[in-house]
Each structure stands twice: as structure tokens, then as C-alpha cells.
Symmetry: C2
Subunit: 207 residues, 2 copies
Amino acid sequence: MPDEGILLVVSGFSGAGKGTITKAICSRYDNYALSISATTRKPRVGEVEGEHYFFRSKEEFEEMIRNDALIEYACYEGNYYGTPKDYVMKKLSEGCDVILEIEVQGAQKVHEKFPDTPMVFVTAPTAEILAGRLRGRGTENEEQIRGRLRRATEEAEFMGDYDYILINDTVDETVESLHDIFRVEHMKVKRNSRFMDEMKRGLGHLS
Amino acid sequence: MPDEGILLVVSGFSGAGKGTITKAICSRYDNYALSISATTRKPRVGEVEGEHYFFRSKEEFEEMIRNDALIEYACYEGNYYGTPKDYVMKKLSEGCDVILEIEVQGAQKVHEKFPDTPMVFVTAPTAEILAGRLRGRGTENEEQIRGRLRRATEEAEFMGDYDYILINDTVDETVESLHDIFRVEHMKVKRNSRFMDEMKRGLGHLS
């Protein structure tokens, strides 16, 4: 049986690059899986069930809520979004490290339910660089960009609740830093009780 | 001014290889320094003041104790051994990450005084491998080796008080793992208050 994987939360400012980083780490290394959200909103063109989302009816989603089958959930603009527990647990039990990309409020709920979950906040090196990246996308007008920066100002107040600040300067380096966080989390004493028990037993036999 | 370095404690079983690893990481990377102990015991042949130890008289050492100039100290077989605070603080303020290689009781004292100090416990992959390494040195008789294994059995009870378990399989990998621990510790939220303040200020100006 493989060692159990680690569930890790990634949040961050819009434009900080968290989506790019979490996708890149999964394609660079075999042992990572991205958590997949369930939603009641309709699939958009190109969205694949079980890849982008688990698409569920309102009734199915509310049954998941009643059965405590979601790690966290929220309602935006009339649609439910949530993290199904069973997919995450299956991946963890297979030995995968699972990344849960989620906004700050959802992250807090996960932390309440699973206090051992490492929490990573992704940010650009400076506010100016963040603004530059948002403008560089060319997909939003100036008012929308200012809205995102206002939202970032609010989110910044939550940075202190996270465990790690991941400063995304270049994607390659940031992917390696996230990989390091997982590697180092696996060395935490609390995740090595079985090893420590075996070591104590072995020493007891030899001495 | 460089960012302040991290003080990190390394303990571990005799024969686990902690001396080899801490020396190797200092020669592989520029940013590390080993803490140097002060002692009242006489220098042995080849031991250099300020490199192997700071050699002090009993009176000088007891003055350091009175002046709270030691991070921790202990008395073994009639001689004092301790960690002078000023050398460690000087290196930290220069931006060096400082490694304090110390046994389990000393480590506990450091942790009480500096609770933010990451604590790393170095171990061989199994008790059998540890015993094999002790015998492989060829410097001790079987009774001395059994004594070391009994001591390891006692030390094993303290593993759970550490933050990280560093399993030394090969030196090269273990050095990289220790380097990763430092890198990841630098990403901890509590070590990035200045960055977070600057980010909040910057976002406030832009939004």
C-alpha cells in the first residue's frame, strides 16, 4: 500500500498564476492530482465531465450536502460549487498529493474541517507586477481590472491565515517551490508516525 | 540589508550521519553556517579556536552564563559546552541560515527559548542500517556500539518533539532535503510579514 498523499490548498490573487502553476506541476510530476469541483451550472462548450467539473443537478448537489459528501461548498450567482470528498479521498489513498485550488473563504472552511491541510497563498512579486499581468491578459477592460485589484486588496487580508507565501516570479521556479513544499510536508513528524514506530521497535530489538 | 537567516536545529542518532550532512550542505551552498560551540575542555591536537570550538576558561564560561550570552549550555564530565548567542546572531543578521547541531536535551532548551526554530531529526532508514553504519566505522567495540544503540533507543522517544524527520539514505539526497527544508521554511507566512505588508500597501495604492 502506498503512503497516503497530502491534501494541500492553493489560493491566491487573480492574475498571480495559480492555475498555470497547478497545471504545470501536474504535467511535470506524476504524483499530483488536481481536485475537481462539482457544480450545478451548465457545462460550457468544451468542458468535459470529470475533467473540468463534475456536473450535477441541483437535487444531486443538495443530496451531497445532506450526506456530508463535500469538503466545502458555496453558492455563486444561483449555482452551487463544491469539492466532492470521495474523489479527493480516493486520490489520497492511492498515494497522490492532491491540490485544491480554491478561493480564500473556501480555504478557511477546508482548514476548519482538516486543520492539517497545508495552505499556500500564491502572489506576484509586487502589486505592480500583478496589475501588469492582469492588463497583459488583454481579456478585461480597465474597470474589470480595477475590480480584480480591489478584490485582491480584500484577499490580501487573509494571507496571514495561510502557511506559505509562494511568490510567483517565474513559473518554472514556482512549480519547483510548490514541489518542495510537498516534499518537505512529507517530512513533517506528524506524517511519519509509522516510520517512528518502526524505528523504535527496531532499536528496541537491537539494543 | 539582507533578509534575516533562519536558525535550525539538527539532532539525530549517533551514526545517522548528521555531521556529514551539515558539513556537506555548508560546502555545497554559500548561505549556510554551522554554529560553533564554546567549551571549557582543552583543545585536542588539530582543533582550531573559532573553527572547531571557542575555547574558554571556566571563569569566562560562567561569565557567559551570567550574562545570558549562551543559547543553551550543559556540563559533561566536568566540562561546560554551550552555544554562544552572539556568533549565531551575527550570522543570522548577515542573512546566513545557521545550523545548530545539538543533542536532544539541548534541542529542547533551544526550542523553549526560540519556539520558531525548526527542529530536524536525522535518522537512518532502519535500525538495522543504523547499527550497520556504527559497526562499519570500525572505531568502537561491540559493547560501545550496543551502548550507542541503547542511547538511540532513549533518543527515539524525543523524535515526536521535532518538526521534521530527515531519513538519511544517501548523503547527496539528504543534503538536498535539508536544503529544501530551509527553502520552504523561508516561505512560511510568519517569515514574510514585511513582504505581505508591502503587498497590501501596493494593492491599496493601485485599487
